[in-house]
Symmetry: C2
Subunit: 284 residues, 2 copies
DNA sequence: GACTGTGAACGCGTTCACAGCT
DNA sequence: AGCTGTGAACGCGTTCACAGTC
């Protein structure tokens, strides 16, 4: 409390739930669109629809920021845009470095969304000496050797990692050592960082795999079938790692429990790890 | 339970919590790495460390799949790889279409992670007639006109949208009409889809904004006092400008829906401070 | 002795429903 | 009359801690 006025209104920072923080950017985007159409006010109902959430949740979220609405009327668009921007720290410009300028890194460098909303790509860094100097998105790629200097010179605190998985942890360590405290990781690896450093990850194959899970379930339900099938067969066969690439259909149908099958889980002999063939999933 | 052997421990499918499903790919990746190193078994502790979660959570997660471990020993790596793959539906190959071959779309097409773990890029689609035929990642780009036919011919049920925000909903509608039931959306927009269709979104700027929020908070704490700083400045500056317009170069295709709004300074009457304190942080 | 599987306690986030302003 | 702000109920997910098994 150095300052006399400690009031610090809005930012009951400490109290904003993580889930709410994650939705603020969504609200901000919807509000920005309204702002461009010069819409003066919105109700929680309308805004919620635009952001793809329900209105109760939105009101609750906003209540953590403060009382920014007017009962009987709604929220003032411009005012709310400002408040959320401030809460998110977008009233200042964040310099960002992108490490790993391959296909993805280059795409990120070119991504307009970066440049707009409060972020500025301060530097592109890659380990390939041949890339040094090559312009990507109108900016010369710099070599990893200068990573520390670049970060310091530009006062960068947010780093994006788009290197191959194998190099990610190493790059991460250097970024952290150089003072980076927030990392957006696109490499398919778990990064370990010291306390105080935030890491968010974006993983394409994970997202796809989650979709596949649900997709498979849909297929199974549709088929109406019970479950069992493939397993029963597998079991009597003595080995249960069939994956039978020939009959993919059958495989798709199983593994989906309609609502039936109560917890009839018993301890019958649960055969385990055969080693026969367990392909199916390609190695990385 | 028509079948004699009903035990089917695993697949109480209906019961697998969403949060658990989202972690299965993580476990799978860690397990695959172990498998490649020919490690035969792992304890929940070791595997949890490799996947970046705590062991209690991991054991709980696995318990939803069935009793696949051995007390006193741990889990059989190969067996678990198979079980999780099956649960995720990766024992079959999912054809995927990517719509919107700009920088990001091309990067995705080239992304190895797609091709490996159970997914196969069946087609690349773009609305630009000039791109038709152009090879990207060794595959000719096809025109949007043929979208429906492509999906049907290839039996595709998963679509990836990497178009600019403005085109996303339209593309989404066509994909859904064509039979797609799972969508991975990279466009910065909220997509609305009918029931039964799953959408997962990946949004770069949202991730960055979340990081910025925490980053800002760190800076504030570090400064000893609360956050104040930026506000004081904004206040004395008499500007309420949110997200000042950055160099929006919106390169090529992907671009965020909106650009920063030019501070339409609405003459705010008297805004109530958040927690009833302080006279707001608005332009006076 | 080692490690899994899981009921029970707990905490966070969402939803409900209504009191409180305008 | 309309819409926000929020206490209270609820449900999901995480963590604890220990009984059960090898």
């Amino acid at each position: 409390m150095a300052t006399g006025r400690t009031h610090r209104p809005a930012t009951r920072s400490r109290g904003i739930p993580e889930a709410t923080v994650a939705r603020l950017p969504l609200y901000l985007r919807a509000l920005t669109a309204l702002s461009e159409r010069s819409v003066p006010t919105v109700s929680s109902e309308e805004l919620a629809a635009a952001a793809g959430v329900n209105s109760a949740k939105l009101r609750k979220d906003f209540s953590y920021l403060g009382s920014y609405g007017t009962r009987g009327v709604g929220y003032d668009v411009e005012y709310l845009v400002y408040q959320i921007s401030r809460e998110l720290g977008l009233t200042q410009d964040w310099p960002v470095v992108i490490v790993g300028i391959g296909n993805l890194g280059a795409a990120l460098a070119n991504y307009g969304g970066f440049a707009s909303r409060g972020f500025r790509v301060a530097a592109l860094i890659d380990a390939d000496p041949n890339m040094a100097g090559t312009p990507v998105a109108g900016m010369p790629v710099q070599h990893t050797d200068d990573l520390e200097k670049i970060i310091e010179d530009n006062g960068v605190s947010i780093g994006v990692i788009s290197t191959p998985a194998g190099a990610a942890q190493q790059v991460c360590d250097r970024l952290v050592a150089a003072g980076i405290t927030s990392i957006l990781n696109f490499a398919p690896t778990v990064l370990s960082v010291p306390d105080g450093v935030d890491v968010r990850k974006v993983d394409l194959s994970i997202e796809l795999q989650i979709l596949a899970f649900h997709e498979q379930r849909k297929a199974g339900e549709e088929a109406g079938a019970e479950v069992v099938v493939a397993d029963a067969v597998a079991e009597t066969a003595g080995v249960d790692v069939p994956v039978d690439e020939g009959a993919a259909e059958a495989t798709a149908a199983e593994a989906t429990a309609a609502e039936a099958a109560p917890a009839a889980r018993t301890e019958s002999t649960d055969r385990k790890g055969p080693d026969g063939d367990v392909p199916a999933v390609m190695p990385a």
